[in-house]
Assembly symmetry: C2
Homo-oligomer: 860 residues x 2
Amino acid sequence: TIDATIPLKSRELWEKNGIQKFDEESGFEKKFVGHVETSLARSMYNCDELAAYEATSLSVRDNLLIDWNATQQKITTTEPKRVYYLSLEFLMGRALDNALINMSSNDKLANTGDNTSRGFVKKGLDDLGFNLENVLKKEPDAGLGNGGLGRLAACFVDSMATKNIPAWGYGLRYEYGIFAQKIINGYQVETPDYWLNSGNPWEIERTEIQVPITFYGYVDRVNGDTSTLSPSQWVGGERVLAVAYDFPVPGFKTSTVNNLRLWRAKPTTEFDFAKFNSGDYKNSVDQQQRAESITAVLYPNDNFTEGKELRLKQQYFWCAASLHDIVRRFKKSKRPWRELPDKIAIQLNDTHPTLAIVELQRILVDLEKLDWHEAWDIVTHTFAYTNHTVMQEALEKWPIDLFGNLLPRHLEIIYDINWFFLKEVHKKFPKDTDILRNVSIIEEATPERQVRMAFLAVIGSHHVNGVAELHSQLIRTTIFKDFAKVFGNKKFTNVTNGITPRRWLKQANPELAELIGDAIGDPSQNFLLDMSKLTALAKKADDPEFQAKWDSVKEHNKIRLANYIKELNGGVDVINKEHIRHTLFDIQVKRMHEYKRQQMNIFGVIHRYFSMKDMLKDGKSIEEVAAKYPRKVSIFGGKSAAGYYMAKLVIRLINSVAEVINNDKEIQDLLKVFFIPDYNVSKAEIIVPASDLSEHISTAGTEGSGTSNMKFVMNGGLIIGTVDGANVEITREIGEDNIFLFGHLSESVDDLRFKHQYNETPLPPSIDRVLNELDSFTEFKGEFKPLIDSIRHHGDYYIVSDDFDSYLATHHLVDETYHHSKHEWIKKSILSVANIGFFSSDRCIDEYASTIWNVEPMTP
Amino acid sequence: TIDATIPLKSRELWEKNGIQKFDEESGFEKKFVGHVETSLARSMYNCDELAAYEATSLSVRDNLLIDWNATQQKITTTEPKRVYYLSLEFLMGRALDNALINMSSNDKLANTGDNTSRGFVKKGLDDLGFNLENVLKKEPDAGLGNGGLGRLAACFVDSMATKNIPAWGYGLRYEYGIFAQKIINGYQVETPDYWLNSGNPWEIERTEIQVPITFYGYVDRVNGDTSTLSPSQWVGGERVLAVAYDFPVPGFKTSTVNNLRLWRAKPTTEFDFAKFNSGDYKNSVDQQQRAESITAVLYPNDNFTEGKELRLKQQYFWCAASLHDIVRRFKKSKRPWRELPDKIAIQLNDTHPTLAIVELQRILVDLEKLDWHEAWDIVTHTFAYTNHTVMQEALEKWPIDLFGNLLPRHLEIIYDINWFFLKEVHKKFPKDTDILRNVSIIEEATPERQVRMAFLAVIGSHHVNGVAELHSQLIRTTIFKDFAKVFGNKKFTNVTNGITPRRWLKQANPELAELIGDAIGDPSQNFLLDMSKLTALAKKADDPEFQAKWDSVKEHNKIRLANYIKELNGGVDVINKEHIRHTLFDIQVKRMHEYKRQQMNIFGVIHRYFSMKDMLKDGKSIEEVAAKYPRKVSIFGGKSAAGYYMAKLVIRLINSVAEVINNDKEIQDLLKVFFIPDYNVSKAEIIVPASDLSEHISTAGTEGSGTSNMKFVMNGGLIIGTVDGANVEITREIGEDNIFLFGHLSESVDDLRFKHQYNETPLPPSIDRVLNELDSFTEFKGEFKPLIDSIRHHGDYYIVSDDFDSYLATHHLVDETYHHSKHEWIKKSILSVANIGFFSSDRCIDEYASTIWNVEPMTP
């Protein structure tokens, strides 16, 4: 065994001196003071809240690392099949509070209800002179993602740890995460998010794990061998090091601690004579320094692909480092290569990691000298691919020249993959003249030939899944239609997205979690591991006493948000807190995108405002107005890609409208609008629990799944939404009475678009008026013309005009229910939560594990 | 008191949980395992030697930090006068072994002789399965300096801690230290020294200390005030952050742990609207990233100034951050400004930190609104300046345009300083028409006007010192002649350099330290704190038994070096170890520079080789040759600035000569030549103790002090040297019988140079022949022509030809003594060590403290 390599005497000494976990106040205090005095080299006299955050994190991290070591040691010795989750984004948010919730659940304090480690850490900090809430706020968000895709990866690693799946995440450690959004004069301004400014106590820099990564150069084959199928040598022209940074990922109520490994680019220290031959020392230092730029910054685009070489460099850097790591680990087991797919499942989160397929083929053929076809068989049994979108602008394509210059050997391999694949297709459909062109990895139709990454991902994977049923069905029938013909429908499957109830219920909304636990007789909140237990809530849906408690929790969370908005608003209240219980919080927070239709939301707000003003003009009293348009706050939040003009214009419009409406004394606080700047994970944790209603109103057929819809419902908010993404299954689960659906179905969208383009029809008067009067919200006449034109003259691609009246009518229904049938409303809320269990990301992991990865949990 | 700010209950808890120092094996083992398992997140199964080095360092660091905290706390509460030592270079070498020697000397194990913490740490590592020597080798050198100047600063911080002076060093944390030197085909090739590749357990990143630093921009004054003497606002155009990195500096046999604070440039996170107004997000991230380049790389020039803007940026960045820190600390004491010089002494190591003078004036006038003259009075009572060289090419000058663009307000202040100074000078010497031009800070004679930094340093300081007596005298009579007239001679003083005997005797040569301790009845080696105790050795100088032991230590160290050279030589012995006791190790290791005259050394070697060959050609036997030219190894080492063509050519010549001589079977190992690549501090620790003879042969009047001369003598090596730098005082201390001096005196040099230029005289035949036959060592005819021409045709600026015969004759004397009067030789060696005490850097610190800084030690 592995123990045998260490002399008995030493082993005993190591074991005797091994560190112990703390599980109560005094143990925590000892650790805390120790870290202040050593790791931080401070003392009680200069330990501020930031230092307290760091010392607390380091203390908690020490506990996690004991379990981390045990988990990894167990995986090494028992060799279960392992999952590697490759995602270019992990939108983790803050780590400390989550760790406190997940920590030390297998020791004597486990299963004693809430507030296990959170409780004693709070007490310990208190004794030492600190307040836990303030300490938690000192942690900057790890904003290493844009939106849903990155947050999904974060929920998945949480669930994989909780489910005891032996799994590692692989990503990049960007020095600059998603930009910080500032709102200046109503406009979005992007500022760099240098999140590591104060260091990061949650990362372990693994300086000992440094993988050399190659770019550019040329391909060489021995003895004049010209076949690209034979082992080839890639002589690189540029070399950088990938250094590993590990983030422990603790499971909930288990001692499993998985690993998230993020790579950072660093200069290589090896001696490259060719490079230094020039003798230009200063220049060679500069060159080395530039290596770090590879992982400097996250590309801030969501559902849009930017064809910059640096982006491709990021992707290859990350794939090559991860594969090197994965293969090295596999080789230590000394198993034959053909067993690799029995021991390793690699999941590709979107097409960003598609190069991993090619890289594994290269490793097997060029370095390990396997036969091409044997290698390809191993590769295709190892990878599975998750598609996130069917929108054309989001599908990755790389110009052949750029690709071949950066990765000459990979391009050869792709040509060969394509060649063998097309041969097979031709054999299957010898008479189909179009299909070869349609499924070729190389797009020939464009002026510049391009590598279609999604096609490569499909061909190199054994399973392809969408992220919601509607979306998975669209994949099969649109972008991968011909592949479904080639591979059959079985390769194309669905795993509807989910979210972790630990962060999105317990951490964001501890009051609700406690109320639920009490209500269903589960005070230690085991429902967070088995969300089907929530169905027991249904019994209480009609209970007035329970309803009152339920509503009080909501009120509490609304006040928290109202206070936060006040803080953002320079200390001045936006929301009238006197009426907060009867003020509908209507929230849309997510990336700014035309397809997500924040423009429709703000048009709706404008329409409401005009209608209220009309009534007043018609001599109606404010009470009469309030009866028809009861109290409401429209809250927005979300970032736009820096170069996305239309999305940024919508932000400006929202802020312009807010400026007018919030300052209109005439309507007496009946309507307020607020745009929360710099929406991120930690802000979501405050925003989500406060919603009465949230908006998920994408043009049907455009949203992959959406996950904020699940978060809002899990926190007792109702939804207004289109029949799109996971809204469909949310409706199925919670019942159509409990959701406000509206708008055209995806089947109609193409026809509507066609109609807009070829038969210009007049707009409905509702939206027509809104568009006509947009200028009244700005001092710059015509500022919003592009928004108007897109609907009036450019085909209204997102069918805002078609859905607008249905949207307004549904809002009217919402008002009616919220204000005149509050009992019904709360009942809907409770029933929704009771039936939201399906959307726990634990369920997703179960599905991936059994139908795609074929892995088993490992007893910790 | 400060305690009162913390509630009693919390304070008790902090104190109860405070960490404790370990002082024996089991305590160390506990710490070590804890750090492996938490700080490194490893386990016994994957703890390699690098990890063991890191865990040992972190454990030892924890101990030091307890004392560090206590020392700093004591300074804060007792408010003694403090010293700040500003040096752009700190050539620290390795930290762990030094810390082991200095650690825990005030606990129960102190004063129990050698091997206190080093002993139990060695034992503890052994038990855990590691070997201390191998672990120590894992530490990369902190190569944050070029040569003597940087190493001096390192010795000084060691001595200041040992002497209990409340002192901090301030410098820069270069990501790339002095380049690593590779020798390829005999040529020096510079490769980047990315010394932080594996992290650095000795640094504490103080993310909480971030000082904003401004560059460029313009100057503004309120209300149209046009006087540059009134408070002005500097509106900067670029801003970066200086982040502090602290390195604990432990004293020897004291619990004082001082601080070395190095600054790193990082991007600012503040929002600069002007900068982001453009909306170009990617570009603004790039700009921010570039901030880090300020501290990326050490300029690899020694005694030569490079006028790059980035260098001036480094200097200002460092001075501004340090002054900000110093002033902030002073302001906390709430004392009036006029007391600043009573509480703070700032020492400027060379002119690199001269901007600190201007920056303090700026802070006092612009930010603190002091009257100009009151401020200047404070400034000039605070600073003192150490000059290191009188060589023109090393004197810093900055073109006005470049300077004024980067630091517009500082240029104004310099003009004003100059104006008031010149007024004063004019008053004193109303009839001297030249003096104003000669002492003006602004040089007007050059095509481009320039700021003369040395003049500014002289004017802004209360004391100016040279680094050896001869040098201090030269300062007064050459470059600062007119200033001596203005200020009087008393302002110009001398502090002869020194070295720390802890690193350069105890750490590098533990066997010798032990032998000395035993010989003088001081087994706990207190002589390391009071080197005058060494004089007791003189009694034993003639004792044959002691001489034998003395010689055995030398032999041991020579074998260690011979083995190391073998390792560097690909495992093949260069030195015949059979005869090692009778082989003279002749060593010259230092920066490669024409003025240091390595060329003369290798010419001497060539001359010896030719003479040996001549004898053989004349039919003499090898025994006869050996009698005249006994066994000798000529060892060289040192880096050349990357752009210094002549110095690099000398390296190539040495290697070319080595290639020929070492492979000449005819001379049967009687002469060997070896160039040790990449000379640095840790290599010096192996090289220095192994010398029989070392060479310090600079052209008289060029070397400031030299410190390697002291190191070699302290380790029992004799010196061949010119009457230059500290050689003069070494001779005074150890007696002229114990040193081999030769060559012209500095008084003659100007005449000799004049003669070379205007009356071309034939070269002495000895050097003439060597120059004629240089081609025999290379396949490229004429390769060494520039070396030849510099002597034959370009005035032999370094008077090699004038000193050569005297040099050869002295080497003959060396041979005679070493080989035929070994008893005499060893006696000289012992007497030298007995009288080397003066050159402890502790003595330097005493002198600085009493005559320049006016500070007292603080009882720890």
